[in-house]
């Protein structure tokens, strides 16, 4: 079975982003970028299934400008077999457009399973996997913390608000990963070198026949309101006294 893993290039998780003063967006000039952490977990999950002999091929795919090829190379260095870049210079590509692009790709790639991250840490949407499943008419299991792949079905434990629940989905299916699913591996130097020789194909939204024009207009982007400076208290007793003054206790 072939597994398709969409991955996204985002601002590195440890970067404290700066909002542009004119309200036009986030300042991404010279900011360190990396693979979205949930996508790393998705790649790792696919690789483990391949190593267990349950998958024949792991294909990573990304939508973005030519720099997204670096993100695909990261996936290849982790162990994926092949990469596909859906190349566009569009500044904003919404989850609905990404879902349509991946769906178009699936028409020819025909994977048995698609694994995505549950959300990207830049737009925090948490939509693409669900939208893809809807467009394909496939079942979905979001926020996966454990997966067991069978031949006809996949059993997925999901993190829900009160604990976990387990679902069984008929294949083909879409799964989105939660943090607890696994600990992604680091790419070793030899594997990074080898990844440079792995196939990386390119296509475009036009070639796939998908309109990626945004549906939402971003009117402005601002910094969240700042909290007023706090005070340091000397003891637990003083803390309790202060909290009683504010009325929260």
């Amino acid at each position: 079975m072939k597994i398709l893993v969409p991955v996204k290039r985002v601002v590195d998780r440890n970067v404290k982003v700066r909002v542009k003063a004119d309200g036009s967006g986030i300042d991404l000039a010279n900011v360190k970028m990396a693979m979205n952490p949930f996508c790393e977990i998705a790649v790792e999950a696919a690789l483990r299934l391949k190593e267990a002999g349950q998958a024949s091929e792991v294909v990573v795919v990304s939508v973005g400008n030519e720099k997204s090829a670096e993100t695909l190379r990261t996936g290849l260095a982790m162990g994926a077999d092949r990469g596909i870049l859906i190349k566009t210079d569009a500044e904003r590509i919404e989850p609905l457009a990404v879902a349509k692009l991946i769906k178009a790709l699936i028409a020819t790639e025909a994977p048995g399973l698609v694994i995505l991250g549950k959300q990207a840490i830049d737009d925090d949407s948490n939509q693409t996997g669900q939208m893809l499943a809807a467009l394909l008419g496939w079942p979905q299991a979001t926020f996966a913390s454990k997966i067991e792949l069978g031949t006809e079905t996949i059993e997925v434990s999901r993190e829900v608000d009160g604990g976990t629940e387990t679902l069984s989905l008929a294949l083909p299916a879409v799964v989105t990963t939660d943090l607890r699913l696994n600990e992604p591996r680091y790419a070793s130097l030899p594997n990074i070198m080898k990844a440079k020789k792995k196939p990386l194909d390119e296509t475009t939204p036009d070639a796939l026949g998908v309109d990626i024009a945004p549906r939402l207009a971003v009117l402005r982007t601002v910094e969240p309101p700042r909290r007023a400076g706090g005070v340091t208290v000397a003891s637990a007793a003083e803390l309790v006294a202060r909290l009683k003054e504010t009325g929260v206790l």
Binding site: R13, N14, K16, I26, E94, L96, K118, Q119, D122, D123, D124, N126, Q127, G129, Q130, M131, L132, A134, P139, Q140, S145, E159, V160, D161, G162, G163, T164, E165, T166, L167, S168, A170, A173, L179, R180, R215, L216, A217, V218, L219, R220, T221, V222, E223, P224, R227, A228, G230, V231, T232, V233, S235, A236, L239, V240, R242, L243, T246, V248, L249
Partner: protein, 312 residues
């Protein structure tokens, strides 16, 4: 055109997330219908009907709708979507699972985790783990929104009771099945709705010390217990207690962070709390930059002292 709000419930009672999302749904300015879907959920529909300013409750009661599986629920919502200009759900695990599926089937974009409704088509939402607030305008024919419940007060019960109308459940596509669930049972208030939250971090050292230090303080304050991702990853607390960008987003009256450094991803889940208290022996920890009251002291002495001071 009306607004459809999808009720959040556990099969037994209505979750308060519904009443909070109702406040956001009412801000759209149109009459609000609530959809209660599930198996054996008429009493939940009756509960929803008592909320203020609800024009009607639509009840879909069918065994196929148990466990809030996304596939049959999305089919059901789609079958009645033509009556609505907006479809709203709280941004709970269920809401986040269901609504993007509905949006894609309607060929519209969803606006996730709305924190403010500026007009019927313009919304604010946090991006980059809450480090920026984006104002977006939807030009889609139907607005599909999930609501960050911590940003809205609950709508209380009103004087009138809305009529309950039954809607036929959509046929189940037999492609996903519920197998089992393992829910955490707790006597404490639910994390997402609690007035006071006491959270522990990696500095607690072990699951035993986490419980021994945090539980007495939480019990004394009738607070819910939360945890940082580091504490959850280390196995000190259950996954469902995680507060942060990847866990729950809370905005209680009082948030007490014990042994939590204050990583970006944690702050995203609690920085809208009314009063934040940080207890940490590292005076340089980032958590002190957003705390209203900071106590620089070893938590193993500070927390018992705090419990004693509360009893004094």
């Amino acid at each position: 055109m009306s607004t459809l709000l999808i009720a959040e419930h556990d099969g037994q009672s209505l979750n308060q997330a519904t009443a909070k999302a109702l406040t956001a749904a009412r801000a759209l300015g149109a009459p609000v219908d609530i959809l209660v879907a599930g198996s054996g959920v008429r009493t939940i529909a009756e509960e929803a009907a008592r909320l203020d300013s609800v024009s009607r409750v639509r009840l879909a009661d069918d065994p196929a709708l148990a466990h809030a599986l996304a596939e049959p629920l999305a089919e059901l919502v789609l079958s009645i979507a033509g009556d609505y200009a907006a479809i709203v759900a709280p941004a709970t695990a269920n809401g986040k699972n269901l609504l993007p599926r509905v949006a894609a089937l309607l060929d519209v974009m969803q606006v996730s985790e709305v924190t403010a409704v500026l007009s019927p088509d313009t919304f604010e939402r946090p991006i980059y783990a809450g480090n920026a607030i984006e104002t977006v305008q939807s030009h889609d024919k139907i607005r599909v929104l999930t609501v960050r419940t911590a940003a809205f007060p609950p709508t209380e019960a009103g004087s009138a009771t809305a009529p309950i109308e039954t809607v036929g459940a959509a046929p189940t596509p037999p492609r996903s099945h519920f197998v089992s669930e393992a829910l955490t049972t707790s006597e404490r208030p639910e994390l997402a709705g609690a007035r006071i939250v006491v959270s522990g971090g990696r500095a607690l050292g072990s699951a035993e010390t986490f419980e021994a230090v945090i539980a007495p303080l939480a019990d004394r304050l009738k607070a819910a217990i939360g945890a940082s991702r580091a504490a959850v990853d280390a196995g000190y607390a259950g996954n469902d207690l995680q507060v942060g960008q990847t866990g729950k987003v809370v905005a209680p009256d009082l948030y007490i962070a014990v042994g939590i450094s204050g990583a970006i991803q944690h702050l995203a889940g609690m920085k809208d709390s009314k009063v934040i208290v940080a207890i940490n022996k590292d005076g340089e920890a980032p958590i002190f930059q957003i705390a209203d009251y900071g106590l620089v002291e070893d938590l193993f002495t500070a927390v018992p002292a705090l419990v004693a001071a509360l009893d004094a």
